[in-house]
Amino acid sequence: DKLNGGGSSWDYDDSVQNYLMEFGYLPKSNIETGNLRTMDQLSEAVKSLQAFANLEPTGKIDGETRELLRRPRCGAPDLAG
């Protein structure tokens, strides 16, 4: 639901982080260790996702990016791990 417009553009909540992990933008291993991530790491991951989708790589969860996160897609990762 956070993907549906809630939260601030810096709000890298679980659903955003899970998305970034699922498609290869963040290392999945953190799921098990629960290691926290730095804002830089998250912002860089979002920029990488935006670049892949031909969006402005702002690093923020802006409207376009939120739309992208909702868009139907293939389940395979974009970046090899």
């Binding site: 868009r71 897609r73 293939c74």
Partner: protein, 503 residues
């Protein structure tokens, strides 16, 4: 690399409008034979017409065949290179579907076993031949994309490309595919060879042939909830796995051979009579843990004790610390290794130390000491909780009592992980975290073993040693695991014998 991840990916990059775009990616794997076989696993679906689905899949494959030196043949067999499966939620590969929307499908790069297979979320509204604009997802568009993965292509950030990750209509019957995709697929298989001596009007000889007749389309029925008959519907998504679902990764037919080969997956299709004697649709013996099920009723006919394994040349069924003492288990024997031992001692029979295991057991699959200081043995589809040398009353119990799926044949390893001292259970390609207080595996599991980078699938054992490190074992070697990096300490395993058996 695991199925989704590239081993040696090659990708074209070019600037487009100043922004660096990532073009087609060749994932490194490819089919080494010219004619790739494929098969639709669900030959009868409640809300899709299998005949129409097969036609669409043909067309999607044919599009690739028209643009590269590759051809396809439909077969109705579990030996197909590309098995096409419609499934929901957990379906046995560790990559869950999520219901209508978002993830539509996924596929695996070329390779044995699950390699090449394409899975579609059956909870999507798939359009087979409805006109553009109809509400739903055109199966053709998604199938062309997924088969790109099945042929070795990764995702491309070129928006028009078939391999662009987000769903879009990439091909409307024009006679060529986007340039990025053509470069990609021809980078793997080369351009389509002209075939001569045929009617020039025709494009080329058919590139996708089928060897089965099309079944008359069954009447379309409204989508109904698919009931997956399984012994105990505990609501765990895994429990719903259809017994015939070929992605039941643990259905194995008990083997009496000692092969350590991993033959290709053998799946008997739901509506196809199975050869006599195969009561399980799946047959994947693991390379090192092959179960022999000799059932002898009379002690007199009990098999002779197996020869003692050679401690300096063996894999381990299980290795663990019990009361801070190192135990190594193999077949019906165990070694106790004391810290100052300079050499391993002769093994003892497991049954001479732990009473109450089945008389004809051949080996244990895994063992660990839990936080209540009980010793938990996993043997096949059952487990025993021992209080010192004796099993507690009421054991053995089935693995399903722990919330594990009915389809699990064995637990390969049980580990109290050094990073968080939580209990993890590993089996085949998947693993679970186990809640010792609730005595049940945790929700949000299983997950794919690729999380434990470098360890691979079908491990033999794992444990946390006195040094506070975690070790994984497979075959005659082991890795030390780097918890923070979530990966093994080195790619190649260390030899076990010198380190653990003091050979």
């Amino acid at each position: 690399s695991n199925d989704f991840l590239a081993s040696n990916s090659l990708s074209g990059r070019y600037r487009n409008g100043g922004r660096r775009q990532r073009r087609f990616v060749i994932q490194g794997q490819k089919w080494d034979h010219h004619t790739v076989t494929w098969s639709l696993v669900n030959q009868s679906m409640t809300d899709l017409d299998a005949g129409q689905v097969r036609r669409v899949l043909h067309e999607a494959l044919d599009l690739w065949a028209q643009n590269a030196n590759i051809s396809f043949r439909e077969v109705y067999s579990s030996q197909a290179d590309i098995q096409v499966l419609f499934a929901r939620q957990f379906h046995g590969d560790g990559y869950r579907f999520d219901g209508p929307g978002k993830i539509l499908a996924h596929a695996f790069y070329p390779g044995s076993g699950i390699g090449g297979d394409a899975h579609f979320d059956e909870e999507e509204t798939w359009l087979l031949n409805e006109p553009l604009g109809t509400d739903g997802t055109r199966l053709f568009d998604v199938a062309v994309h997924e088969f790109g993965h099945s042929l070795g292509l990764g995702h491309s950030s070129v928006k028009e490309a078939i391999m662009f990750p987000w769903h879009h209509v990439s091909y409307r019957g024009k006679d060529s595919i986007p340039e990025d995709d053509r470069h990609g697929i021809q980078g793997i298989y080369g351009p389509k060879k002209k075939t001569y001596g045929h009617n020039p009007e025709r494009h080329t000889t058919p590139t996708t042939t089928t060897t089965t007749t099309t079944t008359p389309p069954p009447p379309r029925r409204p989508p109904t909830h698919r009931y997956y008959p399984s012994k105990n519907q505990t609501g765990h998504p895994w429990q719903g796995l259809h017994p015939n679902n070929p992605y039941n990764p643990y259905k194995t037919t008990p083997t009496s051979t000692t092969t350590t080969e991993i033959p290709r997956r053998r799946v008997y299709y739901p509506d196809k009579p199975r050869p006599v004697g195969t009561d399980h649709p799946q047959h994947i013996p693991t390379p090192t843990k092959v179960h022999h099920h000799h059932h002898h009723n009379h002690p007199a006919t009990r098999p002779p004790l197996p020869t003692r394994p050679n401690p300096c040349d063996t894999s381990y069924d299980a290795i663990t610390l019990i009361r801070n003492e190192l135990f190594i288990f193999k077949d019906r024997y165990l070694w106790r290794i004391f810290e100052n031992d300079l050499h391993h001692r002769p093994p003892a029979l497991i049954s001479d130390m732990f009473y109450g295991l089945p008389r004809d057991f051949e080996r244990i699959d895994s063992v660990y000491e839990n936080k209540h200081h009980k010793i938990v043995f996993f043997v096949g589809k059952q487990y025993y909780v021992f209080n010192s040398r004796h099993p507690e009353p009421g054991y053995p119990k089935p693995l399903t009592a722990l919330g594990l799926p009915e389809s699990i044949e064995r637990i390969d390893a049980a580990l109290v992980w050094s990073y968080n001292n939580r209990t993890y259970l590993y089996s085949g390609r998947l693993y679970w975290r186990f809640d010792e207080d609730a005595n049940h595996v945790e929700l949000d599991y299983p997950r794919d073993m690729s999380m434990w980078k470098g360890v691979g699938y079908n491990i033999d054992s794992a444990f946390q040693y006195r040094d506070g490190k975690t070790y994984f074992f497979k075959g005659k070697g082991y890795w030390r695991f780097n918890d923070l990096r979530m990966s093994v300490d080195q790619a190649d395993p260390h030899p076990s014998a010198p380190h653990w058996m003091k050979c």
